[in-house]
């Protein structure tokens, strides 16, 4: 079998276009990667996928005929994991369903379908983690500032929850790993990027001059509560770390040192 490599721009539409190209060329890749990644030592052919919304739309239409709404959102959500190893699994997931007379979304004995579904679950779980572990600090101008480094790109999935919950308070939620965030002004949500050399983007903590008047007091109250609620006879750091991994502690008011 010739070693064929597809290069694409790592967008979801790009992925769908890659599927379209494969059927149009009647040749299927062994590897899909971005043009920035180094090519393997041996290969026969490189095909460059040029993302095309119309082609992507046709593939999506074909999928809509076979798959349930849940399975379709499973595809788009799993893509937010940004895992390079997902690419081939997702590609084969789509092809298998196009080739099959019935939708295969529940055949979890299939390696690709199980992998995509598991990735979907992980991304959903990371979304929950964002809803759990974002901590807002109130700034002097009344804006609530929250920062995090989630494993996957889940901010777009979580933002509707925050908008609904905190409808009457302006806030910023920033994903420092991916260098973007959302600002909500009590009406609309806008995507923002900031100069990350500012001290509160480095440490995640607002400087005391930038804080609202009673912010420090409430942080102290929260730390006090966190200490007081613990039952000393039952100390269990292993379970604490399992449910609240250390990688989130940097931005947790109750866990980061002053």
């Amino acid at each position: 079998m010739p070693m064929i490599i597809f290069q694409y721009d790592r967008t979801f539409d790009g992925m769908l276009t890659a599927v379209f190209d494969a059927y149009a060329r009647r040749s299927f890749p062994q590897l899909i990667q971005s043009p920035n990644e180094p090519l393997p030592l041996f290969y026969d052919e490189v095909h460059e996928v040029i993302t095309d919304e119309e082609k992507a739309g046709r593939v999506w239409k074909a999928l809509e005929k076979k798959l349930s709404k849940e399975a379709l959102s499973c595809l788009t959500v799993s893509y937010l994991s940004e895992l390079p190893e997902l690419d081939m699994h997702l590609f084969r997931y789509i092809c298998k369903n196009i080739n099959s007379a019935v939708g295969l979304e529940r055949n979890f004995a299939d390696e690709d379908i199980l992998f995509v579904t598991d990735t979907f679950r992980k991304v959903r779980y990371e979304r929950l983690r964002m809803m759990q572990f974002i901590r807002f600090q109130k700034a002097a101008d009344g804006t609530y500032f929250g920062i995090m480094e989630p494993q996957y790109n889940v901010l777009p999935l979580a933002i509707a929850h925050f908008k609904d919950r905190f409808a009457d308070q302006p806030f910023v939620i920033y994903d420092k790993k991916r260098h973007y965030g959302y600002y909500y002004d009590r009406k609309e949500i806008t995507q923002v990027t900031f100069d990350e050399s500012l001290p509160h983007f480095v440490t995640g903590k607002l400087d005391e001059q930038l804080m609202a008047e009673d912010e420090k007091l409430f942080q102290d109250l929260w730390r006090t509560y966190f200490k007081a609620i613990c039952i000393k006879e039952r100390i269990n750091p292993k379970k604490q770390r399992k449910d609240m991994p250390v990688r989130y502690w940097k931005y947790l008011t109750e866990k980061n040192k002053l």
Binding site: L104, R106, N107, F108, A109, D110, E111, L114, L128, M131, Q132, F133, I134, R135, F136, Q137, K138, Y144, G146, H161, D164, R165, F166, A167, D168, Q169, D214, L217, F218, D220, L221, W222, T224, Y225, F226, K227, A228, I229, C230, I231, K232, E233, R234, I235, N236, P237, K238, K239, Q240, K242, D243, M244, L252, T253, E254
Partner: protein, 421 residues
Amino acid sequence: MTEETLKKLQILTESAKYDVSCSSSGTVRSNRKGGVGNTVGGIGICHSFADDGRCISLLKTMLTNSCMYDCAYCINRRSNDIPRATFSVRELVELTMEFYRRNYIEGLFLSSGVVRNPDYTMERLVRIVKDLRTIHRFNGYIHLKSIPGASRELVNEAGKYADRMSVNIEIPNECSLKLLAPEKDFKSVYEPMSYIQQQVLESKEERKRFRHAPRFVPAGQSTQMIVGATPDHDRDILRLSSALYARPTMRRVYYSGYIHVNTYDKRLPILKQPPLVRENRLYQADWLLRFYQFKVDEIVDDMNPDLNLEIDPKLAWALRHPEMFPVDINKAPYELILRVPGIGVKSATLIVNSRRFGRVTGYHLKKMGVVMKKAKFFITCGELVSPTIQELHPENVRRILVAPSKKKRDEQQLLLPFSNE
């Protein structure tokens, strides 16, 4: 909000922390115009985990820790010399709102010591939740303790504002309760429970006719039992839980391993450590009742009045019933697959979905997350050749599964075996 609030928060949290109920689940409600907050349902949201590994979902605190009762197991009993404090309504409301706005919590869990009489206390609790809901338009989660002995009118009023209400049974047996808490009886616990239940059912009927009729305690009720403070068997505890789950509004029974807070009281056993393993086994049994379609008599009976601490209750059941196994993964109904040790709700669902497309093999099971170390003794899937419980007999399977896992040894290191190893 001052330094004094800080002190109060500390005292009242220390007093409230032995209540184990934590969840913020059971209601899905999006925000209303001009309101603050929503509830997400599902498994709820845990915002943090304390150093003891317990989740922090709600601001769990008390209105006051002064109490006129003298229950032997309780840290806040009248005869204890501990610092006492009382929140003002304003303090408590402001704490809840400000914590909520910073995404520290899902809402409020409010309890109280009993002052003057149950109705007086209940009235003040109701005032706080009413203020939160109506004046501050708080739309997050509220879990309110119903004070044992409170009147029907007050319970009905409270339920209009709370998402979940709870009355704690604490002791699963009335004689033991009488001994440890002479001022309480089962009636004072069950009466508010049935008030809540009746009102919930009435409100459901009402909502069928009027879509906008107010909801009453939409997340149902919960309760808690203390484990290890009395000589009661797991059988008694679980039978009571099972009877409670048969009631239409009971959502959760919590088990709280007894912590020896009042060491001087001779009516209580002296425990060096809280019975954490037993508590864990009880939760496992509770899960079997709620999600695995087990009946309570299958888990504990008069022959086995207590849960085995060495193995989990599902495995224990399987070892007592070798005649049910091995289960054919490709043919058996879902209910039977769910009974296999090492297979949970998630993998059982994956299995029954996948086998419609083709044969499911051991390799697939492993990928799906089945614990094959356990499950292999109880299943066949056509190709698996390892011996099952039928060939090995239950006692041998048990021996293999409880054997301590071998430590990894560094083979380049010289070993000096000591006699006691």
